[in-house]
């Protein structure tokens, strides 16, 4: 289940768990409403767990990039890499801070990074800001009008 949950875009996991749980509790009680209620609980639980696992892994990758980019000087290129405990979705590439700006709140950086996958290279940009616990991914969520397909 954990392995399944780690696969990006695997939305069926919680549905399958919900149906299985509803079936199991349905056989223990004749009341279908009780079966459905148990199903909802399990579904929501598995859904939340899947989201949690996937987010933690993505946060791990963002932290790896932010750490690497924080230790490089502006204009200096260096490599980054993430290795997960469950070896799915290991990624690597290069990055370069291209701009740094100081504000009265904190210092932020704009970086360009690449993700190399099977010899194919994709380029992305993002922002990082310095927090008490180090450099962190700082790109805020898109405007609500633009995130329709994200949820």
């Amino acid at each position: 289940m954990l392995l399944l949950a780690a696969l990006p875009g695997c939305r069926a996991v919680s549905d399958v768990a919900g149906v299985v749980a509803a079936g199991v509790s349905g056989s223990a009680t004749a009341n279908p409403a009780v079966g459905i209620a148990v199903g909802i609980g399990v579904r929501a639980g598995v859904d939340e767990l899947r989201k949690y696992v996937v987010r933690r892994r993505q946060e791990g990758e963002q932290d790896a990039i932010a750490d690497a980019a924080g230790s490089a000087a502006v204009g200096q290129r260096r490599a980054w890499e993430i290795r997960h405990t469950i070896p799915i979705g290991n990624e690597r590439g290069e990055l370069e801070p291209v701009r740094e700006w100081a504000t009265p709140l904190t210092t932020c950086r704009e970086i360009v990074f690449s993700v190399v996958d099977d010899g194919e290279r994709e380029l992305f940009t993002t922002t990082l800001c310095r927090e008490a616990r180090g450099w962190k991914w700082a790109a805020a969520e898109p405007a609500v009008e633009r995130w329709g397909f994200l949820q």
């Binding site: 990006p8 875009g9 939305r11 919680s14 919900g18 409403a33 459905i36 199903g39 909802i40 579904r43 929501a44 639980g45 859904d47 939340e48 989201k51 996937v54 987010r55 892994r57 993505q58 979705g89 700006w101 504000t103 009265p104 709140l105 904190t106 932020c108 994709e122 992305f124 922002t127 800001c129 310095r130 927090e131 008490a132 962190k136 700082a138 790109a139 805020a140 969520e141 898109p142 405007a143 609500v144 009008e145 633009r146 995130w147 397909f149 994200l150 949820q151």
Partner: protein
């Protein structure tokens, strides 16, 4: 009845979107299936009606979530819109529907850019959280806002599709 009481109780819990999504849509689905069963004896047809209602309810909840979050973005944009570059101001939001926590922090305008016909700003804002273990935890984020007529609105676009795959 139970579904409504349950929903109201769940609404009090913030941050557990999955329970809310599952319950809203399934409760509506069960009610829909029951209504469907009243007009047809065919279980498959009743279930299909239930599924239709189910996805409609999920859509309704998503609409509410979006509206609630838009309030927060509008709030930060409004505060940052009237600030001079490099000046700091506090922002905060209180939600009427408690599906997101009330939040607050500081915002600073770090850059202004634009061209003929539009005016945009780069902002850095903090979300301040008082935690029991670590005291005040301050997280920083960056975003862009643009002036749309008279009001300032959130202008950051969505991430590249190849980067959001695992976040849905």
């Amino acid at each position: 009845m139970y579904a409504r009481v349950g929903l109201l109780a769940l609404l009090g819990l913030s941050g557990c979107g999955s329970v809310l999504t599952e319950t809203t849509s399934t409760a509506a689905g069960v009610a829909g299936a029951a209504a469907g069963a009243a007009v047809t004896k065919n279980a498959t047809v009743a279930a299909a009606i239930g599924l239709g209602v189910n996805s409609l309810a999920a859509e309704g909840l998503r609409y509410t979530e979006r509206r609630v979050h838009k309030t927060e973005q509008d709030n930060i944009a409004r505060v940052a819109g009237v600030l001079p570059v490099n000046a700091v101001a506090a922002w905060s939001v209180r939600h009427d529907v408690p599906i997101e926590p009330d939040e607050g922090g500081y915002v600073v305008v770090s850059r202004e850019f634009g061209a003929l016909g539009f005016r945009c700003r780069e902002i850095v804002f903090s979300v301040d959280e008082q935690t029991k273990r670590h005291g005040l935890v301050r997280s920083f984020y960056t975003a862009n806002i643009c002036q749309d007529g008279r009001s300032w609105r959130w202008a950051s676009a969505e991430p590249a599709t190849s980067r959001w795959g695992s976040l849905q």
